[in-house]
Symmetry: C2
Subunit: 199 residues, 2 copies
Amino acid sequence: MTSARSARRGRPGHDREDVIRVGVELFNEQGYDATSVSDLTNRLGVTKSALYHHVDSKAQILEIALEDALGGLEDALDAALRRATPAERLTAIVEGAVSVLTARQPQVTLLLRLRGNSDVEVAALERRRNFDHTVTGLVREAQSEGLVRADLDAGVATRLIFGMINSLVEWYRPDGPVDPELLGREVLAVALDGLRPRD
Amino acid sequence: MTSARSARRGRPGHDREDVIRVGVELFNEQGYDATSVSDLTNRLGVTKSALYHHVDSKAQILEIALEDALGGLEDALDAALRRATPAERLTAIVEGAVSVLTARQPQVTLLLRLRGNSDVEVAALERRRNFDHTVTGLVREAQSEGLVRADLDAGVATRLIFGMINSLVEWYRPDGPVDPELLGREVLAVALDGLRPRD
DNA sequence: GTCTATAAATGGATAGAC
DNA sequence: GTCTATCCATTTATAGAC
């Protein structure tokens, strides 16, 4: 076998995981549409035929990455929904989303940049819409409990929170100086209490 | 003349402005790279030759739109820098950025999605970096005045604020129910004091 | 201001050998 | 698991007529 963490002998010897990883990496650097299969094979150091031995299409690479991102976010949402109180549910989905986003930054980045240009993209956007809708419900119940300002539309409030959260993909890097768990708590704190010092 | 608001006789009769407007519109729907010149001519109802009579290249359409976005943001920043106090400067750049973003949503959206795939994109990203850097300076001075929590890195604080602001391009629509000026004040309020109700 | 026709390159993908 | 060679659709852009 060439996969796993064995065999790094006789030249490249890639497997499907390598192709996906490099594909996602390149899609994030240049954008999915701006990345040609040749760009991909160049970085991998193989020909197109070699690449097509591992994956069916360029779109399949995207599809696998999106499943990873959406699966993570949906799992985090399910976990949040199992919490007992509205306050715990809101805390759990914010920290959970930050956690998924930092752990799978490349995949989530792809998800957030989709435009719906293909069946794969449309299907992923639909799942993302469902996620957003359920989260908005959590924000709404937090409002009726007095945890979140009720004079703000629940949809707008959700978009502002997730605007902050989702923007992490633009600058958070796993090898950077920011601790992901601390970051989750900070984002929650800023979302609830703002940037002004508390007295 | 065919331009301005005159002459809507003898069939299409487009001018440069039409091409730019429709181009930006389509770039935002599908992404710049996913949009072909044929997509553009199809929506305009003309042939490629007609389009190339108005603009030099597909890239030039992007370039003009980016100049519009960056010019607006830079003007807002200049205006903020002319204010007397750190608090006024911070308020001015937040509300100013929201104002530009709502007034020129399509152009700013393009700016925020750039990946640096061409000279035009690299140049625009450089100007955007300068903007971000100056804004971070405003946040830093607000921290030393005690207006913003000092235990947070100024860069992180700026990114969180602008994460919230920039996410507006994903959902704000000029024909929607949300008043742009009110939105600017709300974003500033949420950034400073959070979503939790104040007592 | 718009057209037809076409150039020249690059796109995603496959056949078949090793 | 990777290669060379190739197909064919689509891409950006231009020449030159009306």
